[in-house]
Symmetry: C2
Subunit: 213 residues, 2 copies
């Protein structure tokens, strides 16, 4: 039994998938209430009734976009985890930062969607939650900050969160932050990576020592 979302992902040329792709782009730029179904339909080149035929009401489409995005992010994190597996901690951190920066930079809609979903939630609508907690605990364990899921300290979670939020904000707010920092595109991305490394590595190494003692 395939969900509508799985069906859409399977064939990227299907109308359902095309709508989903455009919707992601537009929702991530304007948020839920800043986006109209007509905007999306126009971007795809179809009538809004076709959009409603495939996805039902606006909130349903928005939810599908969120779930789709979340799934993509999780897949990427799994991929990174496979890459860094077995390596020593500092190397692991460095690679993880590097890879996730590159990935999010190329897919900056992801960060926008997640942050917007956190800061503005359409009221009265039944909007799905982003499973931030899974991601945070996943990273914490993968970084050796905790042995099992239920034994992660608040402090550890908060530190992982600082890195995640910083990264997300740097990517999502790139347009506004890069003139402030004074670095564009690749240069900007490098400063971000450097900064995250600078912050992350001592924090995690120290944290790990605390756990092992």
């Amino acid at each position: 039994m395939a969900t509508p979302l799985e069906k859409a992902r399977r064939d990227p040329n299907s109308m359902k998938a095309k709508i989903l792709t455009s919707a992601r782009k537009i929702f991530s730029k304007n948020g839920f209430s800043g986006t109209t179904t007509r905007m999306i339909a126009k971007a795809v080149g179809i009538d809004i009734s076709t959009l409603y035929y495939h996805w039902g009401e606006k909130a349903d489409l928005y939810n599908a976009v969120l779930m789709d995005t979340q799934e993509e992010l999780k897949q990427e994190l799994k991929r990174i985890e496979r890459v860094i597996h077995g390596k020593p901690l500092p190397k692991r951190l460095e690679i993880a930062i590097n890879e996730s920066c590159d990935f999010l930079y190329k897919n900056s809609e992801i960060t926008n969607l997640i942050l917007l979903n956190y800061f503005t939630k359409p009221k009265g609508k039944d909007i799905a939650e982003f499973h931030f907690i899974d991601i945070i605990t996943g990273i914490a364990i993968s970084m050796g900050l905790a042995m099992d899921k239920d034994k992660i300290t608040k402090q550890a979670k908060a530190r992982v969160m600082v890195v995640m939020l910083s990264l997300f904000n740097f990517i999502a707010g790139k347009k506004y932050l890069s003139p402030i920092i004074g670095a564009e595109s690749q240069d900007y991305l490098n400063v971000v990576k450097e900064t995250l490394n600078f912050i992350l590595i001592p924090a995690f190494v120290q944290d790990k020592k605390a756990i092992e003692s």
Copy 2:
């Protein structure tokens, strides 16, 4: 010659000020496009035409809210700077984090407004920019990260930014992040302070050494 904003601030009981206060609350919760002038008018207990009489179009009111918020934040930062002036660096950092956390926690609309203004910008409208750069450079200098305004390294700005964005996100996203971390209200605030101290202090101390050498 007093601007409308100054006039409104002078008398908090004036209709202009009451509208401004309600508008701030509602805009910060729903963003620009998620907020209707009717919501604001209803919260104040007036007709929308009264709102339009005092503030003109929606974007003007939104701009006034942004400017008002920015001004308040700048005043608070100045106050903090006075408090920490002359103290040794680590103490300065600790106090600054503590004070700004408390302030933003009590006035969490500020962080929401700023972040929303960065991630979703109403298109076609003439919305004022938040002077993030002033704040960042101000902090950098106050923290001894640079000697004058034009000689702040990209790295220094990025590090100040990490702290600012983390703080803003922790406050603005409190509702969603506190269950993840597993700490509520005052406990949450303490974890945030602790985490920021943990990250900030080594970064800034090391940076200062680099400058002085």
